[in-house]
Symmetry: C2
Subunit: 273 residues, 2 copies
C-alpha cells in the first residue's frame, strides 16, 4: 500500500511536504503511475461521469473551504461509503497537485486497469480501435471518446504510444477511459494475439487500397491508425486484411490521426453496428 | 510599416532588445497580431508547405550557424527573390521568439488574410465548415486541416472563437491555413449573409433531427459545429435548414467537436463532392 491510500480515511492536509501530496504529485509522472498502478482523474465532471459508470476513486481530494456543490457532495458520500479516502487540503497545496489554480478543483486516484491483450474479449464488440505509436495524449483521449461514441470495445495501443493514463489523455477522453477497454502491446505480440482468433485488421492507406465507403468490413473489425507524423510502417500496412483510402482533395497534409480514425470508425459501424 | 519589415533586407540580430525581436515576440499575442495584421508560422515543414502553395513569408527568421538544409536553402532563395526580409539571429534569441529550444527552428511572418464574409465566394466549393465559439486553437487547426482534405472552401468562425492565426492553430492546420479561406463574423452577420444567397445550414443536433447518413445535403452546404463544452445555442440549431444525428452508443460524453465536424463533413462530401 502506498503513502496515500490507507483506506476509508478522512484527513486534512496542511503541509506541502505531506507524503500524500508527494504521492499525488508523483502520479503526474508515467514512471510513478506504473510503479504505483494508479492514475489521477481531475475535475468534478469527469469524476461524476466515472461515478455514473460505477467507477469510484479510491481517494478523493478536495480543497478546504470549497464552495458547496451537490454533485461533489454525492461523490464524497459515494467514495466514503465504498471505503475510499477523503482528503481535504489547502487550496494552494491542491493547486500544486493539479497544476491548476482553481479552488473548485477536485481530483481522484484510480487503480489502473489490466491492460494485457489477454483481458480483451474480442467478441464483445464489432469494432476495436488500434493506434500505433500515437504520441499525443490529447489524440489518445479523443480516440477513446470516439470509441465510446461508436460503441467500440476499446483501444489497443501498439509500440511507443503516449500514456492513456496521463492526466491529459484522461481529460480528453471525457470519461471514456472508464468505459473503454485499454490494452497495450508490441506489434508482434498484437499480431500473434489477433491471428489467434477472428478479426479483420483495417488501415487507411495509399497502397493497394479500396475506397473506404462500404469496403467489406467484417466484425470484429480492428481499425488501425498510425503515428501522427509518420503514419504506419509499411510492414504493418502490408499485414492488414483490408486497406482503404479516404478522399484527400486538399493541397496541404493528410488528416489528423484521431480524425482519420473517427471517420473510418463511423463508416465501419454504419456497416456493422 | 512595422518595426520588423523593411523589405528585402538581410540582417543579423545579436541582441534581445532589437526591435525586430520585440516585433516577432509581440506576434504571439492576438492583440498585436490584429494591430500589425501579421502572423507567425513556425517550422520548416509548414513553411515549405506554404511555399508549395505559393505563399511566402515576408520575413524569414533563422538561427545563425544552423545546420544546412536543402529545403531551407530553397525557401531562403524564394523569400529573397520575392523581396522579403531574411533575418538571422543567435539561437538563444530565436528560442525566445519561437518558445522552442531548437537550433533548427525557423519561422516566417505572413500578412493576415481578408477575413470578411464579403471575401467568400460560396459557389467556389460544395462544402464550407462553420464553427461557433470554438475555443481550442488545436481544434481550429484540425478543422482547417479537415476542410482541406475534404475539399471544403474554407472555415467560417462565429462569435468568440480562438484565433486561427495563433501559432498553435497554424501548426495544427498543417498548412491548411494557407489553402482554406478563413472568415470571422458574429452570428447575426453570418445569417444575414447566408440568407442573401444559396446555402444549406446543417448541424449535428438531438432536436428534431434525421440520421446523418444520406440526409439530403445540398450544395453549398454549411456544416456548423458548436463550442467544445456547450455545443450550439438552441436558437442557432433552430435556424438550421437540416439537423442531423450521429450515432452515440457510448456511456460517456459526446464526440470531440472537431471529430464530429469531420465525420459530418466526410458524409456530406460523399454525397455532394
Amino acid at each position: 500500500m502506498n503513502a496515500g491510500a490507507k483506506g476509508g480515511e478522512r484527513r486534512l492536509i496542511t503541509g506541502f511536504s505531506n507524503p500524500t501530496v508527494k504521492f499525488l504529485r508523483s502520479l503526474r509522472d508515467k514512471k510513478h503511475r506504473r510503479a504505483e498502478g494508479k492514475f489521477l482523474a481531475e475535475g468534478l465532471r469527469l469524476l461524476t461521469d466515472a461515478r455514473t459508470m460505477d467507477r469510484l476513486p479510491e481517494m478523493l481530494v478536495m480543497a478546504r473551504g470549497r464552495p458547496p456543490h451537490p454533485l461533489l457532495a454525492e461523490l464524497e458520500s459515494a467514495v466514503a461509503a465504498a471505503g475510499g479516502d477523503i482528503i481535504e487540503m489547502d487550496e494552494d497545496i491542491l493547486a500544486k497537485v493539479t497544476g491548476k489554480d482553481n479552488p473548485q478543483a477536485v481530483c481522484g486516484v484510480f487503480t489502473e486497469f489490466d491492460t494485457s491483450l489477454a483481458a480483451i474479449d474480442r467478441a464483445a464488440a464489432p469494432l476495436w480501435l488500434v493506434v500505433q505509436a500515437m504520441r499525443d495524449p490529447g489524440n489518445l483521449g479523443t480516440m477513446l471518446r470516439t470509441g465510446d461514441a461508436v460503441g467500440a470495445g476499446g483501444l489497443i495501443l501498439l509500440d511507443d504510444c503516449a500514456d492513456p493514463f496521463s492526466a491529459e489523455a484522461v481529460r480528453a477522453s471525457m470519461g471514456a477511459i472508464f468505459t473503454q477497454r485499454v490494452a497495450t502491446a508490441r506489434w508482434e505480440e498484437f499480431i500473434a494475439w489477433l491471428r489467434g482468433g477472428a478479426g479483420q485488421l483495417v488501415a487507411a492507406s495509399l497502397r493497394d487500397a479500396v475506397p473506404y465507403r462500404d469496403a467489406g468490413y467484417r466484425a470484429p473489425c480492428f481499425v488501425l491508425v498510425g503515428n501522427e507524423s509518420r503514419g504506419l510502417p509499411e510492414a504493418y500496412e502490408a499485414e492488414c486484411d483490408l486497406r482503404v483510402t479516404m478522399p484527400m482533395k486538399g493541397r496541404a497534409d493528410s488528416l489528423n490521426a484521431a480524425v482519420a480514425g473517427a471517420v473510418l470508425a463511423y463508416e465501419v459501424i454504419d456497416r456493422l453496428g
